[in-house]
């Protein structure tokens, strides 16, 4: 299965600033996704990262707030823009290959 490296693992950011999270997969995956998770709770899909084109966002998430890039099959970034304390959460990337889905270890973001 693919191995996903995600960084940073955690950060504390000032409100109004932006943070870019990077996700690197060690092999090609067909699809990549970004999720948000409150500690101890389930995962909510933010968007599907499409290679070379605009990401596909789920209801309640918009490109201006969460711009996503995927320049190739193994790398993607998620930016959390103009952060507020409500954006404090864990952000995870995921890669899909056949039936398999692999997840990064997550980025724990705290906005102060």
């Amino acid at each position: 299965s693919a191995v996903i490296s995600q960084k940073p693992s955690r950060d504390i950011c000032q409100r109004g600033t932006s943070l870019t999270i990077q996700c690197q997969v060690d092999s090609q995956v067909t699809m990549m996704f970004w999720y948000r998770q409150q500690p101890g709770q389930s995962l909510t899909l933010i968007a599907t990262a499409n290679q070379g084109s605009e990401a596909t966002y789920e209801s309640g998430f918009v490109i201006d707030k969460f711009p996503i890039s995927r320049p190739n099959l193994t790398f993607s970034t998620l930016t959390v823009s103009n952060m507020s304390p409500e954006d404090s959460s864990i952000y995870l990337c995921s890669g899909a290959w056949g039936y398999g889905y692999t997840f990064g270890s997550g980025t724990r973001l705290t906005v102060v």
């Binding site: 299965s1 389930s42 039936y99 889905y101 997840f103 990064g104």
Partner: protein, 108 residues
Amino acid sequence: TQLLEQSPQFLSIQEGENLTVYCNSSSVFSSLQWYRQEPGEGPVLLVTVVTGGEVKKLKRLTFQFGDARKDSSLHITAAQPGDTGLYLCAGVSEKLTFGTGTRLTIIP
């Protein structure tokens, strides 16, 4: 919107006991997956069930997919402290739809 409800939401039992976690949906999925997640880590895939009525065993864990492919259960026999974690079911379509989660704590 596809929703997967898990029950119970929280479960704390003594080591050696048995338990069952349920995952129910109003939607049909092509397959269903179960994950376990530990703090500071991403979810790790335990099993994928594809066929209605399918039963899969992974050591002390038994997974069942409902006949109508809308529900599933996870049964753990003789729970161990290492089983502690957040258990998530996920319906597979063109993307994963995660269940509400079950936080399991096994007390030594």
